[in-house]
Subunit: 281 residues, 2 copies
């Protein structure tokens, strides 16, 4: 498979495709790929002539006490997984992506400080900055993101709109393990007990869904029920459980129309997120 490592080579390649009138769909990843990522690559292949998958563990989206160093990496495994697809792999060096004196950042104000942004300060600033850079390097017509990172999707859509990136954002649905746990590279961190307990995240979302379907309009009651269920697991420590407006991420006061039920829970030392979009058109 075609593997590109340098920024200028990636840009030249993108330019040559454009001259040929070919379209590019882009799937940015941090590697350690799983079926969730592959589902995004599949969507990308359906939408464009060429698919570029990037693998880059982006340091600026990790906080000083987070897991940048130990974030799982398995380049050979990733290549093997992608080999079946026709994707082009872009694997830049950290030293080329962030020069010694990197000064420029892209920020989507207000959205970045809610939900995950409360406990992960400057996380989304790192995300929007690297995605802006990758868009300028890969020059995609389409970019595919997973709904698991619901807040990220919303923030990137807003960045694309506000900065006039000529990129259509496509969102792939959450891919789950058999017991409902959303696939994530970080699931690898879980020990046996934690892995069992982690299924409670999706269970709590299913209960929420049922309550809403039965007509519950009070978000506080739904959140209370979810939290109580999650707290039955000894390894679980709730970061947040919130029900928010899908446009501005503000907490909703009544459950009607479209809203997002989102949660972040530490299972042991591993922070996991999950969410459910209700009333989606």
């Amino acid at each position: 498979m075609k593997i590109i490592q340098s920024v200028s080579e990636m840009q030249s390649f993108a330019n040559s495709l454009k001259k040929q009138g070919k379209t590019i769909a882009f799937v940015p990843t941090m590697g350690y790929l799983h079926e969730g990522h592959l589902s995004l690559v599949e969507i990308a292949q359906k939408n464009a002539d060429f698919v570029v998958v990037s693998i880059f563990v982006n340091p600026t989206q990790f906080g000083p006490n987070e897991d940048f160093e130990k974030y799982p990496r398995n380049f050979e495994g990733d290549v093997a997984l992608l080999e079946q697809t026709k994707a082009i792999l872009f694997v830049p060096e950290n030293t080329e992506i962030y020069l010694l004196e990197h000064l420029t950042f892209v920020e989507v104000n207000s959205l970045e400080n809610l939900l995950c942004g409360k406990s992960r300060k400057s996380h989304f600033k790192g995300v929007t900055t690297i995605i802006a850079k990758l868009f300028n390097i890969v020059k995609p017509d389409f970019a595919v993101f997973g709904q698991k990172d619901a807040q990220q999707v919303l923030i990137i859509k807003k960045m694309v709109e506000d900065l006039n990136f000529d990129v259509k954002i496509i969102v792939g649905k959450i891919i789950r393990e058999k017991d409902g746990l959303a696939m994530s590279s970080r699931n690898k961190y879980l020990n046996e007990q934690e892995r069992k307990d982690a299924s409670v995240l999706f269970e709590s979302l299913k209960i929420a869904k049922k309550m809403v379907e039965k007509g519950e309009k009070n978000p506080a009651l739904v959140i209370e029920k979810m939290e109580k269920l999650i707290q039955t697991k000894l390894t679980a420590k709730i970061d947040y459980v919130e029900i928010v407006n899908t446009k501005n991420l503000q907490q909703v006061k009544i459950l009607e129309g479209e809203f997002l039920i989102a949660l972040a829970v530490k299972i042991g030392q591993t922070r996991l997120i999950d969410n459910l979009l209700v009333g989606e058109n």
Copy 2:
């Protein structure tokens, strides 16, 4: 001449040029064009197949007490001036460029708070944000900026490098009136006395240059001489006179190698800037 008003039309036009293998050089302006702007258009024409000139008085780069409302506008005059060139004019509406809830900004940390950034808080954040947007709309291979806005040039070059914009920045030299006053749309604000006094800015730069050529190494002595000369004009009020490193805009301690002599002076109510690059390679 071809005038484009909508973002999507500009992007489609840029895409169609790229498919034909044509290059685009871009000259972003705030209109009220003068020979300085035309010199940039000329440079653009020498470098690319097509030239796009934008006219957009960007509200986010003006402070609350600055001259956004009264900034001079003369669309018919601008069109007449450009008619002789083969430029394509991009004239977007403010309401399309900044949506009701615009949340995303691009910032080049540290560089933006020096020199003009000291008295014009958030000015450069407005500049980098609009230029990032315009680059995504016009999709240029080259962009031409005037050396008169020396700090802007440096900040935009850093943004291009840090965010991997595939755009080559070209810098056009300062175009001056007969008495040396740097051309600027804001010169229109000056009354007769102020217009006379304004020539002192370039005179002070010429004196600085002479001192340096004669071997002066002490920036404080050069600045003192410049300030004294400027202060002989009753209408002049100095914002800053500084001699700085051309890469990081920090004040230099000794005059050697390459450095930038930069100044901002209010003549009456009109804030003017000028600069001189010394030791340029």
